[in-house]
């Protein structure tokens, strides 16, 4: 703004009043915000950028740009199959995990029963236990179950999905319990008063009101399962590798932009899912 212009009287008045001085705390706050955004976005931007580098060995600055790494990634059966497999596992784990988690959350939030606090802690515990430890634990448990049932579990699709369901339940329980806290209890009472039995009132009135929490829970469950590495490591079998495992295995012997292109696709996919979800349910209001 040109405050010295003699024609612009309002600018003159503004000049006379002087722009208010911004306190140093506000500046510090702004700098901090910019740094934090940079800190969070830098890896993502870098990965996407790298995926277009022409050179097979990471080198700055790149000698040129290409899309060929994306083609190569898709041509690599480990990635293509891993992607599809991870998608299947994550979808099923999210659906089953959310269904079970919602019931658990409602039970814990509504009823005081013997050990309800303990059940709550137990359901949240997968968040506290390191994934690698949980993975080994589940692996050993599966081995025993295999012996007892005379049935393959380790390395099967079902075995992996069950483990991932355990992983997703804490997210649903927490989100749905938080959602229930914000509900006006008299709304379900109104439904009861209008002639709905308790289960009908729950299905027709309470559950729809929990929709934002449930959608958010499904989204988080999907993401948590899709990108999980530690738990899957000990449970995946030959020919049944998830995408994160495929990436790790590739990284052991190669360091070219193929990985970056795989990661870019994953970032794009999860970002899209979040954007689409946000159109229907404002995630910022739930989480």
């Amino acid at each position: 703004m040109d405050n010295t212009s003699p024609i612009d009287s309002s600018a003159m008045a503004g000049h006379a009043r002087r722009a208010p001085r911004i306190p140093w705390a506000t500046w510090l706050h702004r700098v901090f915000v910019v740094l934090m955004y940079g800190f969070m976005l830098c890896p993502i931007i870098l990965v996407v950028w790298l995926s277009f580098f022409k050179d097979a060995i990471l080198y700055f600055p790149p000698s040129g740009y290409t899309l060929s790494w994306y083609v190569r990634a898709w041509d690599n059966p480990a990635f293509a199959n891993g992607f599809v497999f991870s998608l299947q596992v994550a979808l099923l784990a999210a659906v089953v995990g959310v269904a079970m988690g919602v019931l658990a959350a409602v039970g814990i939030a509504r009823y005081r029963f013997l050990g309800s606090k303990g059940v709550n802690t137990l359901l949240l515990s997968p968040l506290l236990i390191p994934g690698i430890v949980a993975g080994v634990g589940i692996y050993l448990f599966y081995l025993r179950a295999e012996n007892a049932l005379d049935q393959d579990i380790v390395g099967t699709f079902g075995g992996l999905v069950i483990a991932h369901i355990c992983l997703t339940i804490p997210w649903t329980v927490r989100l749905v319990m938080a959602g229930m806290e914000g509900l006006d209890g008299s709304i379900e009472e109104a439904a009861r008063n209008l002639g709905a039995s308790a289960p009908v009132a729950f299905m027709r009135v309470t559950l729809p009101m929990l929709r934002p929490s449930i959608v958010a829970a499904a989204l988080f469950s999907f993401v948590v399962s899709f990108e999980n590495l530690e738990l899957s490591l000990s449970l995946a079998g030959p020919g049944r590798t998830t995408l994160p495992i495929a990436i790790m295995q590739y990284l052991e012997f190669n360091l070219d932009p193929t990985i970056a292109s795989v990661a870019s696709v994953q970032i794009l996919l999860l970002g899209l899912i979040m954007l689409v979800t946000d159109r229907y349910v404002k995630l910022s209001q739930v989480v």
């Binding site: 006006d184 008299s186 709304i187 009472e189 109104a190 439904a191 009861r192 008063n193 209008l194 002639g195 709905a196 039995s197 308790a198 009908v200 009132a201 027709r204 009135v205 729809p208 009101m209 929709r211």
Partner: protein, 348 residues
């Protein structure tokens, strides 16, 4: 519509008694208000009638049916909640339709019924709006329509106006009363607002500490309160401590003698402030000399505090007549005059 009989209803939460020995018959088409301070048990009683709380003992009959052990959804009551409690994910029409669907009203009849109840509360235009798009008053109208659509045997309202602003409160209150009379609804209306209770009720039940203090028509309760709690809770009352005698004279603790219509055994004597006239010359059966202490300007009325010569204090309410009736100034000598018939005697 049906009559409601409440017999010896009692509710205890652990050791604390929320409602004790509540007995009341409500006639068909009658509007009864439950009035009392918060925590007096009025809402607990209403929730027991609706079925949300199981009574510790006692019976509730709607019509001739004992509903004491019936679940909420089989009681046929229509309830309006303080915070509207509309279903946020349904439109106005869907909110109303919900109860009809639950009562298995055939689809073909639903639309006519929805239109009729929405017409009643003047909400037909907004039938496709969602609750969040409505003002508080509109939401409460929809809640009323929703409760009435199922043609309940009893209409229950739990402080339905407390979330509305003052002007709207009066407006919706009058609509509820008009609707109730037109449809002949047996209605229980819970409130803590005495003016609201007086304005709307056929009869009122005043509660305190879980106990019904008095049941009666608004004017009975106001003119002849059964005890000091009712006298003090409903409007204002000058109360003198002292002793009555057989000659219809009440002597206050300070020695002031007051002619009262009755109350040989009385320990307290009350008189409403608006029944006390302040005059320069004594007149009538009671003319108590005193000095004006202060005068409060309340708009439509003036509240004048008088210190009687015997030491008792008394408040008089004078209609604000503008220039023609200036209130006596502080320090002025006056006579507080009132009729023996306006005195209420209490025994404690």
């Amino acid at each position: 519509m049906a009559k409601v009989c409440i017999e010896n209803l009692r509710k205890q939460f652990g050791a604390s008694v929320a409602v004790s020995d509540f007995t009341l018959d409500i006639a068909e088409g009658e509007l009864v208000t439950f009035l009392g301070p918060s925590g007096c048990g009025k809402t607990t009683t209403l929730r027991m009638i609706a079925g949300f709380i199981a009574p510790t003992s006692g019976r509730i009959l709607i019509g001739d049916t004992d509903v004491t052990r019936l679940p909420v959804h089989k009681r046929d009551t229509g309830m309006v909640f303080q915070r509207y409690a509309l279903f946020p994910h349904m439109t106005v029409a869907e909110n109303v339709a919900f109860g009809l669907e639950m009562h298995k009203v055939p689809r073909a009849e639903r639309d006519g019924k929805i239109r009729r109840v929405l017409d009643m509360v003047r909400m037909t235009e907004l039938r496709d709006r969602y609750p969040r798009q409505l003002s508080g008053g509109q939401q409460q109208r929809v809640a009323i329509a929703r409760a009435l659509a199922i043609e309940p045997k009893v209409f229950l309202l739990d402080e339905p106006l407390s979330n509305l602003d003052a002007k709207l409160r009066v407006e919706v209150r009058e609509e509820i009363r008009a609707l109730q009379q037109r449809l002949g609804l047996t209605t229980i209306f819970v409130t803590h607002d005495q003016e609201e209770a007086l304005a709307i009720a056929d009869r009122m039940a005043i509660m305190n500490d879980g106990i019904v203090q008095q049941v009666g028509s608004p004017d009975t309760l106001y003119e002849r309160p059964a005890n000091l709690f009712v006298a003090d809770f409903l409007g204002k009352m000058n109360v003198f401590k002292g002793r009555g005698n057989a000659h219809s004279v009440f002597e206050t603790a300070a020695g002031q003698r007051i002619a009262a219509a009755d109350g040989a055994q009385a320990t307290h004597l009350g008189v409403r402030p608006e029944r006390v006239r302040l005059q320069a010359q004594p007149a009538g059966a009671n003319a108590l000399a005193g000095v004006v202490e202060s005068s409060l300007y309340l708009g439509s009325v003036l509240e004048v505090r008088v210190r009687l010569d015997g030491g008792d204090r008394l408040v008089s309410q004078i209609v604000n007549g503008g220039e023609r009736s200036a209130a006596p100034a502080p320090g002025e000598r006056v006579y507080a005059c009132f009729e023996p018939a306006d005195c209420v005697a209490f025994t404690q």
